[in-house]
Homo-oligomer: 394 residues x 2
Amino acid sequence: MTDSFHPPQRTLMGPGPSDVNPRILEALSRPTIGHLDPAFIGMMDEVKQLLQFAFRTKNELTIPVSAPGSAGMETVFTNLIERGEKVIICQNGVFGGRMKENVERCGGVAIMVEDEWGTPVDLGKAEQALQDHKDAVALAFVHAETSTGARSDAESLCALARKYDCLAIVDAVTSLGGIQLEVDEWGVDAIYSGTQKCLSCVPGLSPVSFSPKAVEKIKSRSSKVQSWFLDTNLVMGYWGTDAKRSYHHTAPVNSLYALHESLVILQEEGLENAWQRHADNHTAFAAGVEALGLGFVVAEEYRLPQLNAVSFPDSIADGDVRAALLNDYDLEIGAGLGALAGKVWRIGLMGYASNRRNVLFCLSALGNVLNDQGLSCDPAAAVAAARAKYAALQ
Amino acid sequence: MTDSFHPPQRTLMGPGPSDVNPRILEALSRPTIGHLDPAFIGMMDEVKQLLQFAFRTKNELTIPVSAPGSAGMETVFTNLIERGEKVIICQNGVFGGRMKENVERCGGVAIMVEDEWGTPVDLGKAEQALQDHKDAVALAFVHAETSTGARSDAESLCALARKYDCLAIVDAVTSLGGIQLEVDEWGVDAIYSGTQKCLSCVPGLSPVSFSPKAVEKIKSRSSKVQSWFLDTNLVMGYWGTDAKRSYHHTAPVNSLYALHESLVILQEEGLENAWQRHADNHTAFAAGVEALGLGFVVAEEYRLPQLNAVSFPDSIADGDVRAALLNDYDLEIGAGLGALAGKVWRIGLMGYASNRRNVLFCLSALGNVLNDQGLSCDPAAAVAAARAKYAALQ
């Protein structure tokens, strides 16, 4: 017989999931009601409004997909791209590669614009690709590369897309709620995110939003969307504005309670305040990281405050450090991914996890473990450096 | 500002979600940990074993898809069916039609075998189609039609598929945990279910299982699976047996806690005991329904104990009855779907909701509401009939 599972109590400072606010866990466990219950439909309407608030958009097609961020990515590409259509994809990390897979599996043609991992998308190269491929229908890029911690200039990239009459497709999995994001003002046409990053909600849902121009492209498709489950034409029969909602699939009711609560919390704090909090905790953390003698992969001006790719000397056994942090401190930090595997740690300061306690705790624990592993450093000095930065920020 | 959402406390006796066991809601709200945390990977292994137990299979590819049952259906078709391949689909309700959509969106050809709604799949017609289409690669059908409450003979249909060298694809969304289901013994090749029916878990996950023969077909595909998110070749890098699990998508961690707990509960009760409980509560409920003067859509021998399609006189305003039950009794029953819309109620006795209290409560509440709506009936007699049946069952 298998026993009930009782997870350890971790501090989650990896690339996500991030620490979940206890208010959200409590909301998650409220009694399940039917997915067509009038009370539930009312909550769904609030979730849509709250997502419009978080994305800063008036887009009517703004909903949470009933599956994780990867399914949000697929929702965007499978709805927008038809067989033979060209999409320019700016890749500067893992998730650009996933976009390529998505486009190709939709029968589209992916034109790749490669940038070095850890750098932002190069605007010049993106524009060159747009000039070279006038028949492209979309420009796609990752706003906040979770695999490297680099922030790209989403506003300028959207402007470029518009200039060449392309749809702007944005991966905002790690950016939503953590850094400035302006869907309407920047002219984003299709965007997807995740719940388990800066919204500090449980993983499993993917907020998406489509501009009227994107919706028009979906409506004028010559072929059916190849995924029945992700077909927004069908999903909107359930999530749309008609008084009568028709069943499409059974919504993940409790996960949506959790998303609702996480967005209520974000609204209480205010978007700008949340962005500022992420920035401040990063600043303090970065001071501590440098005091430990460690480096950053990403140049300062392009660093994501919520995802810190921290490099370490070759002498350090990556896996041993992470295992010691997990086993001795119940602290999770992330491993490097793809080209950065074994070369960096990805230390998240996302959403609820972006707080002073976590910053000081992580610096202290990491410093102690590094000392154990033979890298001489001064955890107390790192903590002091972070505290000094906090004091200066006030 | 939007306030936190506090759902009403309903009794869920519709077609799902069903009442969730409080143990499962509690498990759901346990602290989130990382999707690559060793503690989580250990729990994933248990979930796979527990699903093998529930499906009665040794299939290695037995996992929960990170999305609702509709995505489980899509996982099966999108992995198994390639462009131009023929699938024979037996349709006797809504979900056969959804299978057709899935096959066609994979580029396959759906050969439809239609049966009247409320009847089981006709074996003779299925065999005729297999004879007429020797090039078909699969026979697909719904074991327990949630839209009508009819049970089809899955064992015989699987045998037919085998006889004609077709894969047997089974929709077990509403059957798993509620009625006998023997994946290995019956020779099921691909099967999907949902968590929110007879497992009484929250909605949002879809257990699936593929036989070695099905896996072989997936491995020998000439084209990539068109969905990146649902591609089992990739998903198994994360859910597989390799000691090192590679990241594919972020698993819905807390929902998996809940599924684990629901399967632990099922194991504690025992599969046969769970099936018997569903049968017994249905028998008592049916006696009460008849005492109220209402009828069943499905002939007795094909009735699903967990989903009762109850017909009512034309004079009754369907929506008013359901609204009164919801508003006055916090009791949800389901509306008819598709061809049965406005003609039946779908009353679920699924999983945790399949209990004596719910049976007696529903009969009493429904009888009272029917009286209010001008249909003369005797709720007390209905309750007495059900109680008498329970006594006889002991």
